[in-house]
Assembly symmetry: C2
Homo-oligomer: 230 residues x 2
DNA sequence: TAGTGGTCTAGACCACGGC
DNA sequence: CCGTGGTCTAGACCACTAG
């Protein structure tokens, strides 16, 4: 026999796809499978755990392992730096800082973070990202200076805000929100499109271990596509 | 001591976040860590493997384990059925089949799948999805009848195309593409918005084990947001 | 070629949770 | 209660690859 855990996983997946193990049905327990396949129980465990993480199986102590009824597949989106997005397309990356001011977070940003007015000391930075010297996206960002004091002195011409924060402000979690909105007059001017043109907007909230770190609103130039793989 | 693998993972993550292990630096090998933490090497292996899968560590045989320089976090998007999206918001789900015809895939769809004309026998279905009896999204779909012959006789009034395919057409992989485009006259009429209004478009290609299964273009009503968690 | 992570094993004990 | 998956261990061999 000699089955490695990937072989066991493949065999189990084959039985799931071929419906030899029907959706919702109980499959043999680890010990039995190990004997049948001629390997240790730990090997079967590793394989079935992998399939459970991928959503193919539901495992519960005592209840056993069942084939998931509605396999809820997850799409994964790698969150690349804007530089990487642009360079991956073979274009040259650039950025221009348009605005950089000490400025408290506006009420709608405070509300998103569930913070009371007037909020923490903050810095606002507006950045235009360029691909081959053409506008790629317009970013408006507020950074919580209480959480990242050193941002006040960051050299943002050398390192764009996106990269600076990734390097200096380790974060715990956050949310991404994509939506489609018409371009404002300012966005249209900066991105070189008609006012009202549909833009993909990415809003991002980032939290550190304890406190909010930054809110960002990124307006992509028209034609931007977000791709996810399943 | 008595460290479980989750304790080892937490301790390692603490050292990464506190920069006790600096970005890019080599960390101790598994055997040394096991001795230091008072557990078996397999336990350390399990913990470090988990951190590597989450993107915190880069591991290579012989070269050792390093802290990832630019931790590339991945956002995960659970792909729920449209019904679940709507019901999760406390609204009632409904759908109406607008078009259902035997109709070959148009050239741009064949091109996406890299198929030569005239392509496989196919069925086109246009569906309007409703949330609380208001338009939620307009779907245009082609299904490859060679890959899923039984789709020709599916009762799509009982089960919307989305759910029918999830239940009957096990798939291997696919892509999701989000973009922002102006509403066409037809979309505006069906979705109850102004022509030219910005719409979030989801295009989805789904492949079975061997052949393409379906291409779908879903136009969301204005205001739709796509949220991902990190 | 030597050092590192990757994996397998046999056995053990534990935690959960149907019954 | 007691069957199931979850985990740990000590040891072993292997696969890859940097030097």
């Amino acid at each position: 026999m000699s089955m490695g855990w990937q072989d066991v996983r493949d065999e189990a997946l084959r039985r799931i796809r071929s419906r030899a193990w029907e959706p919702g049905a109980l499959i043999p327990n680890e010990a039995d499978l190990a004997q049948e396949l001629g390997c240790a129980r730990a090997t079967v465990n590793r394989a079935l755990r992998a399939l459970a993480e991928e959503g193919w199986l539901d495992r519960r102590r005592k209840a056993g392992t069942r084939v998931t009824l509605a396999p809820q597949r997850r799409a994964q989106l790698a969150i690349p730096l804007i530089r990487q997005q642009i360079e991956a397309r073979g274009q040259s990356f650039g950025h221009r800082i348009l605005i950089r001011t000490a400025e408290p977070m506006p009420p709608h940003v405070l509300a998103l973070f569930d913070l009371p007015a007037p909020g923490p000391a903050a810095m606002r930075v507006q950045t235009l990202y360029l691909a081959d010297d053409r506008a790629f996206a317009l970013e408006d960002r507020w950074v919580n200076l209480d959480a990242v004091p050193s941002f006040a002195g960051a050299d943002l011409d050398a390192l764009c805000p996106n990269e600076w924060l990734v390097r200096h402000a380790p974060f715990a979690h956050g949310t991404l929100d994509y939506s489609a909105v018409p371009a404002s007059a300012e966005e249209a001017a900066q991105l070189g499109c008609a006012p009202g043109a549909p833009l993909m907007i990415l809003e991002r909230r980032t939290y550190g271990p304890a406190a909010p770190v930054t809110y960002m609103r990124l307006a992509h130039a028209p034609g931007h596509r977000l791709r996810l793989e399943i």
